[in-house]
């Protein structure tokens, strides 16, 4: 139990006649880099959306660190310790990089919310994350004026600012150049070593195989295989469903 970060039981979601999640029961491991792979339309992003409360599952349960979060609102899921990025990277376009990151600060109580948004400690921490992700020089630039790769890094900086115990990344490698890919991969390993759990949806197999400890393979809305990269690489069902050989 204790080594489980995120667990679902019989998670089901249908959009009209299309069944996106079909009784998915998955367990991701605490303190590890988990990957969720599968063909397009296999329900990976829907899974993320259900788990984070962005859409409500038709049936099933989600448990995070022993706590039932099935019916929690997205901000409550975030407060429980789960941060996420989006497949089509989402930042606040007309806000500076600094404000984008500061928006993730969790003020306590009414008085905490009325305090200035640019407190010294927070600004230092926000700059720290921007520096670590290599975009410190863009601190005053509005997000809409940044490149795709910079926006992806900014989104990640914002999520990390909220200090999540578990980070869900939806296609972190999508549309980024090989150098940036290396940086993101290295960063995930570093942050994992610092104690953060990851669940990564990704199509880039080189990245998945090189950074994951544990892989879950989805097909048609449910897991068909799981295990370490060495096992997944040679699993026949995976090869048939996903790699198409």
């Amino acid at each position: 139990m204790t080594d489980q970060a995120l667990r679902t039981e019989g998670l089901t979601k249908a959009f009209g006649g299309v069944v996106a999640l079909d009784g998915a029961g998955v367990a991701f491991r605490h303190g590890q880099v988990n990957a969720l792979i599968g063909p397009n339309g296999s329900g990976k992003t829907t899974f993320f959306n259900c788990v984070t409360g962005m859409i409500r599952a038709d049936s099933g349960r989600t448990v995070y660190r022993g706590r039932d979060i099935t019916r929690a609102t997205p901000h409550a899921v975030a407060h429980a310790g789960i941060g996420r990025t989006f497949q089509l990277c989402r930042v606040f376009p007309r806000m500076s990089a600094l404000d984008n990151v500061l928006a993730a600060v969790r003020p306590g109580g009414v008085l905490g919310r009325l305090r200035g948004a640019r407190g010294r400690a927070e600004v230092d921490r926000a700059r720290g994350w921007l520096t670590r992700l290599g975009i410190e020089h863009l601190v005053d630039v509005e997000a809409r004026n940044m490149s795709w790769g910079q926006q992806k890094l900014l989104e990640l900086a914002g999520v990390l600012m909220s200090d999540p115990e578990t980070v869900l990344l939806d296609e972190p490698a999508g549309g980024v150049n090989p150098a940036l890919l290396d940086r993101i991969g290295g960063l995930v390993r570093e942050l994992n070593a610092e104690g953060r759990t990851f669940v990564i949806v990704e199509h880039n197999m080189d990245l998945v195989m090189s950074i994951s400890d544990h892989i879950v393979v989805f097909d048609r809305g449910r897991p068909i295989a799981e295990g370490p990269p060495s096992v997944i690489r040679s699993d026949e069902r995976v090869l048939g469903a996903y790699l198409g050989v």
Partner: protein, 376 residues
């Protein structure tokens, strides 16, 4: 882990421009306060003063609207109805319950703020165009109620509100209310400014930019929207109540009018919804124009045509409003953005040349080198 032990170059470079901007803002504020204080003495006749009060009323309403429109991006056309509720609430509390005028105003504003909780709870569930339509529905429903419930509200004949200062002559009366409106406007601006710089305000702006994203970062978006809607409704209702005490005569058709709500939106958009003084500037322009057109072409709907044209022009050419457009223009005269570490070819050349110059100067003072120069 992140550390910021090295103060980054951007802050040190930016500081002078920030100080200049701050000084400019202080000067502007002083001018504004001076203008407000001296206007009643400068106004040539009571009519101009009363027109000024109308503009101030619009500025107050538009600033109150901007708590919702500016921060969260939810465009409400229903704020006219909230002002109407405040006006009728004040009037009815004075005439039916016999409360003292300004106590009635305070109670009415609080009651409308409380009513804004269920209204907001229903309306803020929908976004975009749907929210606009719900806000219009609010106006229409309230208009029907206040027109039909004649035994209580006075119906279509309207409601007469007794003056709070019966002994004052008309010009004096205007003068007092000018300062009351200005005081309430100052309070609204102060609260807007405080929210703008707070963590709460940053959360609201995040909602404006991308509500789902804000929620996923842990911002309780619905509660934030509801709180700021209630604040907005309270100020709007107080403005309506003050209008009722000043004007003394309420007509449901004008109190619950979509047109009023639209004027507020136009004013805020014109000035700039993301800026503190945007709605105030917009009210100054549009409110004055409205009064002018009513005086010159009173019988015609020409003022509507003019405001429609103005709205089209603003949306087409200054989608962010006048103030941001002016700020962007001034920005061009500033030394180039230092936040992006980019240097032009000319700057590079200059750097290299000045480097070379420094080196030769250094070389000139270095012991031993004079001999080489002499030899050359």
């Amino acid at each position: 882990m992140p550390s910021a032990s090295d103060p980054s170059s951007t802050t040190t470079i930016r500081r002078p421009t920030v100080t200049v901007a701050r000084a400019g803002r202080v000067v502007l504020l002083v001018v504004l306060v001076a203008a407000v204080v001296s206007f009643p003495s400068l106004a040539p006749n009571p009519y101009i003063l009363s027109a000024g009060i109308l503009v101030l009323n619009y500025a107050l309403l538009s600033t109150s609207w901007n708590f919702v429109g500016g921060f969260t991006g939810y465009i409400s056309l229903g704020h006219g109805a909230l002002a109407g509720l405040g006006a009728y609430g004040t009037g009815l509390l004075v005439t039916r319950a016999g409360l003292p005028s300004f106590l009635a105003l305070g109670v009415a504003a609080l009651v409308v703020a409380a009513l804004a909780v269920p209204i907001g709870y229903a309306a803020l569930r929908v976004r975009g165009a749907s929210f606009v339509i719900v806000s219009i529905a609010l106006v229409l429903v309230l208009l029907l109620v206040f027109q039909s419930w004649a035994s209580f509200t006075g119906g279509s004949r309207g409601l007469t509100v007794p003056r709070p200062f019966p002994d004052l002559l008309r010009p004096e009366h205007h003068r007092v209310f000018w300062f009351l409106f200005a005081g309430l406007l100052a309070l609204a601006l102060l609260v807007w400014w405080l929210i703008d710089r707070s963590r709460f305000g940053l959360g609201l702006k995040a909602i404006r930019e991308d509500e789902d994203k804000a929620e996923s970062l842990g911002i309780p978006t619905f509660a934030y929207k509801l709180v700021v809607f209630v604040v907005s409704a309270g100020f709007t209702a107080a403005a309506g109540g003050l209008y009722a005490l000043w004007f003394g005569d309420l007509d449901p058709v004008f109190q619950f009018s979509i047109l009023t709500g639209s004027y507020l939106v136009l004013m805020a958009l014109l000035g700039g919804v993301r800026t503190l003084f945007g709605p105030l500037l917009g009210a100054l322009v549009v409110g004055t124009a409205l009064e002018y057109f009513k005086v010159e072409y009173g019988g015609t709907p020409l003022h509507l045509v003019a405001t429609g044209l103005l709205l089209a022009l603003v949306v087409l050419f200054m989608p962010d409003g006048v103030l941001p457009a002016v700020a962007a223009m001034l920005d061009r005269f500033r030394p180039a953005q230092q936040s992006i570490r980019e240097v032009t070819a000319a700057e590079l050349r200059e750097q290299r040349e000045s480097g070379v110059r420094a080196e030769t100067e250094l070389a000139a003072t270095r012991p031993g080198t004079p001999s080489t120069r002499e030899r050359a």
